[in-house]
Symmetry: D2
Subunit: 351 residues, 4 copies
Amino acid sequence: MILVIKNDKKNQMDKLIKWIAGQGLDIHMSEGANTTVVGLIGDTSKIDIDLISSLEIVESVKRISEPYKKANRKFHPNDTVVSVAADRDSPQTGNAAAKKPVQIGGKAFTFIAGPCSVESRDQIVGIALAVKKSGASILRGGAFKPRTSPYAFQGLGEEGVKLLIEAKKESGLPIVTEIMNAGQLPLFQDVDIIQIGARNMQNFDLLKEVGRSKKPILLKRGLANTVEEWLMSAEYIMSKGNENVVLCERGIRTFEPLTRNTLDLSAIPLIKELTHLPVIADPSHASGLSRLVLPLSMAAAAAGSDGLMIEVHNDPTNALCDGAQSIRPEQFDEVARKVGAVLAAIGRERG
Amino acid sequence: MILVIKNDKKNQMDKLIKWIAGQGLDIHMSEGANTTVVGLIGDTSKIDIDLISSLEIVESVKRISEPYKKANRKFHPNDTVVSVAADRDSPQTGNAAAKKPVQIGGKAFTFIAGPCSVESRDQIVGIALAVKKSGASILRGGAFKPRTSPYAFQGLGEEGVKLLIEAKKESGLPIVTEIMNAGQLPLFQDVDIIQIGARNMQNFDLLKEVGRSKKPILLKRGLANTVEEWLMSAEYIMSKGNENVVLCERGIRTFEPLTRNTLDLSAIPLIKELTHLPVIADPSHASGLSRLVLPLSMAAAAAGSDGLMIEVHNDPTNALCDGAQSIRPEQFDEVARKVGAVLAAIGRERG
Amino acid sequence: MILVIKNDKKNQMDKLIKWIAGQGLDIHMSEGANTTVVGLIGDTSKIDIDLISSLEIVESVKRISEPYKKANRKFHPNDTVVSVAADRDSPQTGNAAAKKPVQIGGKAFTFIAGPCSVESRDQIVGIALAVKKSGASILRGGAFKPRTSPYAFQGLGEEGVKLLIEAKKESGLPIVTEIMNAGQLPLFQDVDIIQIGARNMQNFDLLKEVGRSKKPILLKRGLANTVEEWLMSAEYIMSKGNENVVLCERGIRTFEPLTRNTLDLSAIPLIKELTHLPVIADPSHASGLSRLVLPLSMAAAAAGSDGLMIEVHNDPTNALCDGAQSIRPEQFDEVARKVGAVLAAIGRERG
Amino acid sequence: MILVIKNDKKNQMDKLIKWIAGQGLDIHMSEGANTTVVGLIGDTSKIDIDLISSLEIVESVKRISEPYKKANRKFHPNDTVVSVAADRDSPQTGNAAAKKPVQIGGKAFTFIAGPCSVESRDQIVGIALAVKKSGASILRGGAFKPRTSPYAFQGLGEEGVKLLIEAKKESGLPIVTEIMNAGQLPLFQDVDIIQIGARNMQNFDLLKEVGRSKKPILLKRGLANTVEEWLMSAEYIMSKGNENVVLCERGIRTFEPLTRNTLDLSAIPLIKELTHLPVIADPSHASGLSRLVLPLSMAAAAAGSDGLMIEVHNDPTNALCDGAQSIRPEQFDEVARKVGAVLAAIGRERG
């Protein structure tokens, strides 16, 4: 960390120097014509950059080392591969090979697909079997739904989780669904991946709770959050002992009104550089337009994403929520095929 | 709600018309050369605008009436005045007049002040007495702190709440502090206003829980949230029975790096127009620069804010968190005085 | 265009109705419980949506048809292919086949490459020959440079244009370079494509001037401009008679600090839907990070871009400007090869 | 300027060190466990921060001193007061006192008012006399209009400038109007302040041209421009010899759809700190809503603005452009009165 000290306040530096030393850090000073630069050497991850900037004698502060550690590729150069160890004893998956855990990260590219909301047994089982056939290896489906309006459908809740578990049994696909508060954790015992939605990316208490679990966590990027803040939220989970974190880019809020959010694909290769955690993309929520799912899926794969999470619905017209983002199973099949061609071109395996 | 139907899909409209009728709405159609416009008449607040936009035959959708009702000034033209009925039997407040509840909204302008974090009994009581003397009528202080980093100070927690309650007793000032999950509610029994922080503005489960309480709720705007989404979050609280909601503008995220966030003062008069709920401003968090607190406080008052929430610390240099935003008691006194002059100029009382 | 009229102002509608009729438009009215909706039928492209919104009786306005016409795919369903008819009598290009014009749009995918700034004859000729070998069919290079600081290198100017023309002769590659004011047009006689930079996207007088030229125009998206505004700027050029417009997505400004701008790849398939004009992507300027050029180039190709504009420099360390974005010729060769593989996977030809 | 060097590239630093020395700068090095920090001491305003960041061995760069000099308050601590020396021999202004130049900056607060577009002699003279009576000391009016659509009214052009000059003669008010290209300069001989619009804030060639003039320049902030970029554009003008620059905050582009732009009032006190140039606010364009002009005007005055630029129209309904933003003369009178009360409260004179 580097502090730039105002020259006319240099004589007030003693207290600061003492405080820094009290934090167990070494100091390196460098005086210029108009400013004095103080370098803090040691573990500065606990230093509050806002506190430092607040000091009247400080003109500006620059962090040199990233504030995240467990998520930092510098200290963990190898890719983390998250194993989704679903119990896969299902009618559809009799052989041993199929019982291998699904992996996210590393060489494999993973398709996660399913409806915005779980609506009925027929719906979720039907979609599960359809997307599995097209190459999806994980089933998604919303049971607890974060909705902007209190009057909108809020999901089937516990009943939705049960239906997902049935679809898992029928299809052999592990399942991912969103948690909205820590009190719901007991209901997630048979859920394979717990999703933290964009709106809860900085719900730090919830992050701590799922960090105490051992289950893989799918952590969506918040609409207004920087890549660094996102990694700090992953760090929250990891700091409690759970290192099975999968990041999911799903668009950030910008001024462009034609898409719901702006999918930030630059974040994909950046994330691969900054962290060892796997990262996938969600083109459905990012754009809010089902006709952009195909091109954005191919683009995300080409940009180095470790997988895709795509909304698939058997009858978009009657979807109870977010139908705008959903494609039908036959369209998902086309997406999976065309993304597969891109993966082959860049030399990547399908998970 | 108005739907614009693509002309080449007009023949597929029957199913949609039936679905709309099934929602209990009337329909008004209007055919142009290239598009057909369908007007939905009736209570469209439960209609999912995303679902509608998703239909292949729909080119675009426009909501005509606001999706919030209880928060809507159209249906509640009079200003809501939130009464903060603190128990005010304190050494400092012997007389009956002082026991009147503090009010937010209406004619009064309310100063809320206090430290970012509660640190010790001396600190919080000292600040409480100081800001009260300068004109603050509510004490703020953080006990549970949402911090970007898991390694940063997370607040004193339950102990912090207790210290706040002691400061309340000593000063006679009602208190406001942030809740981070519904499980903390029992600890908030003697807290007068429950704050929902910016990062939890769309933590819908928490909104529902505090909606079941009767306590006044201070609802901060999320960093990436529109005014309409903010009012929808107020609606969540109100829909559960708690209409004591105070809105707090605290800056939105933009590309400008010199300030932490951009205080959106246009939102103040807009909010006064759209809703009957009171709205205050938080210049400390918005800018992240203590030297901008004075000009932004005066500006917020001039723009029609119902109050201010200002961070005050007795020794910013040693504040354990967010010290950058804090001003000292003597500076708060100047802010209160100068804002008072602006209030007098615009003909507004101080609460 | 649809106007929503406030119900309590309905009695003042006569003047408005008369004004609309005076614009040669038909009117369709529809009365609801709280609002009256007025539909304007006919050519509303000249109607000022801001003027209409300003009327006290109007609650809101929604445009139903796009305000651009010549750029609108609805009226020109076939892809526009822009022919870059460079004079190609060069030592390197003796045969007739090589004299075919380069095309942008349609089936072909076009690589444009070259340095940020033209610095010397050796530099620009050397890069031209290198990128041509790797598959670039157009040479870029800055002569007049828009720089944030008046103290930064502003480009070689007229001398830079001359050097570009020499590189064109040596390599047979048509050239593109940025114009900064209409007075420079005479210097652009031998330039094949005139570039309008992001900062000039709404320099309407310059758009009109290049619209009177017949040369292909490369129109970059402004940092804060919506897709619709971008198409309106294309419309400015086209409205003066020049329909040879190539759009170039180069990132928009967001809150994310790790990249200079956020490349908006969703805009690529959206643009292909809304307009018949070709669209390419510039990953170099978008991210400002040379190590992101490869993944973003592959992503842009996968998303349906008609080409790429990439900065290539023979010695980035000594580049006089924007070196951060530049890759070396051998890295460009890798980009071209890997993008080629993606193009093959999606069934697209290389131009 | 501080460079952070990657530790595994430290052995490649020699070339960089030599290059820095070649720029006439001194170097100060400081080695830590993971990084080496290089401080550049001397005049770094010509150093290209992007070039430096591009070097493979550089992890990050931080500028310590601002890149602007002539606009920098550090080197010019006293407020610049821009004198608008209108020729004021008009029927209405016979006495000597009235011939004093209007001043912007310093103690005075200046009202600039007038229509979006000049439409007719009667209109502009009528408004000039009305706003003068209410306290405006400068008349604004658009002759050349930057419009998003090529089909929208583009202003009366040269005829509009002539009508403005007539209104100046009639009213004695100096005039300000927008220039759109340097070729129009001869027409601006009798214009007192030349306005550079938001869309041309980084039209660097135009900035240089008006920098060669001696006339006061009103420089609007671009919709996507940071405060630092804005000051760099002021620096462009000043570097050519014209130090009469008045800055005008008019809103930045954010995700909030209810207002056209978000007025960034934090920028006002920041600007006063960073530069000695005067700064005013334009609440009309910022919000795009005439009913927000009053509260935002009062807020801007309270935040320390040196003046206001407000659109006033005698018949908003029939305004040919941007009528949405315009208030009528009687409303402007109220704005001037109420802003006057705020100015009195903060101890500021009216110009």
